[in-house]
């Protein structure tokens, strides 16, 4: 049992170190410690679950150990900036004032192809328009274009557009969501009128119906099957 405990501690820390060395782009959306936990825990639970010859404790002790270490690491990363940098890493500036930082790219095993792909996904094709591109600790690339490349906002144009608020779904694939209907202060009579306006008899003929805070309706009828 003590061997299982110590092995779990050693393997967990080793895999975290490994994931950190692999660079941020391998991490995806999870922090390294969360990724390691996700990688190990399922396997630990599966082994004693399938093999009845192994005591359940050999699964429970490593899982408890992992959860406690993760809990301790998460508290320490919240409290201590230096510790957070060790466990989660620091954001890396890949592009600064339109200039590529090749050493940072090498350090994070981040290729030019991957950078261009990320930029294209954000609608940017010209690297010189990028003020900063930062590889975050969760592996995502944040791109900040130069101020003159940013879209003009309504405020900058001195325009005050109407704020429609968040539309809520009232009919989802033929099903009426009563709670959302009442949230907007509407009832079945209103819904029946809407259906009648679109020459439909029942909600099951509607694919999607949303209502915003101005009670404006977005309506999609179900397509005929066949």
């Amino acid at each position: 049992m003590v061997i299982a405990f110590l092995r779990t501690v050693i393997l967990y820390l080793l895999i975290i170190a490994g994931i950190r060395l692999m660079g941020k782009r391998q991490v995806g959306e999870l922090e390294p410690s969360e990724l390691v936990l996700a990688l190990i825990i399922a396997d630990l639970a599966a082994v004693p679950m399938q093999d009845f010859g192994i005591p359940l404790l050999t699964g429970i002790i490593p899982i408890l150990t992992l959860l406690c270490i993760t809990m301790a690491l998460s508290v320490l990363t919240m409290k201590n900036v230096k510790f957070r940098a060790i466990v989660c890493g620091r954001p890396s500036i890949i592009v600064e004032n339109g200039t590529l930082h090749q050493r940072e790219m090498q350090k994070n095993r981040f290729t030019v192809d991957e950078l261009m792909e990320e930029l294209r996904m954000k609608g940017i094709t010209d690297l010189s328009t990028v003020k900063y591109a930062i590889l975050e600790t969760n592996g995502r690339l944040s791109v900040l274009p130069y101020a003159n490349q940013l879209p003009v906002t309504a405020e900058q144009m001195n325009v005050t557009p109407e704020d429609v608020g968040l539309p809520v779904v009232v009919i989802n694939d033929g099903r009426v969501i009563e709670r959302n209907l009442h949230t907007r202060g509407l009832d079945r009579n209103w819904l029946d009128k809407q259906l009648a306006q679109h020459k439909l008899k029942q909600p099951s003929d509607v694919f999607l119906l949303t209502v915003d805070e101005q009670n404006r309706v977005y309506f999609v009828a179900k397509e005929a099957v066949g």
């Binding site: 009845f52 005591p55 002790i61 508290v75």
Partner: protein
């Protein structure tokens, strides 16, 4: 910070419990192997009756911790030792000197190995 202390306390408790388990196993296995060695010495001196009594008391001691052993050890290991005791008792009954010695030594080694696999050493950790 409270969560950190809770996590640290659980980790410390787990570590202590596993160390305690290792320490208990050492005493338990030493007791059993001691009884088996005494039984073998008696059998070699021709006192099969007392050898039988000592081996049976070792077996009873083993069986009395059946629940604990089943929860903490691999079931294949505990089954092997259970079968080993039956085998040794049969050889005592038949008073087969050579066969008994071999089976008894094997059983003692298997019991010893249980503790050795739980012993906190670098060899076991790695």
């Amino acid at each position: 910070m409270k969560r950190l202390w809770i996590a640290a306390a659980i980790l410390a408790a787990l570590f202590c419990a596993t160390l305690l388990n290792s320490w208990y196993l050492r005493g338990f296995t030493r007791e059993l192997t001691g009884l088996l060695e005494q039984a073998e010495a008696l059998a070699e001196a021709g006192d099969w009756e007392r050898a039988d009594l000592l081996t049976r008391s070792a077996f009873e001691h083993w069986s009395s911790r059946d629940g604990y052993l089943h929860v903490t050890l691999r079931h294949s290991d505990t089954d092997l030792i259970h079968v080993g005791f039956q085998e040794v008792l049969e050889f005592i009954e038949c008073q087969e000197g050579g066969e008994y010695s071999a089976a008894n030594a094997r059983l003692a080694a298997q019991i010893q190995l249980i503790y050795e696999s739980e012993q906190l050493t670098l060899k076991n950790v790695f």
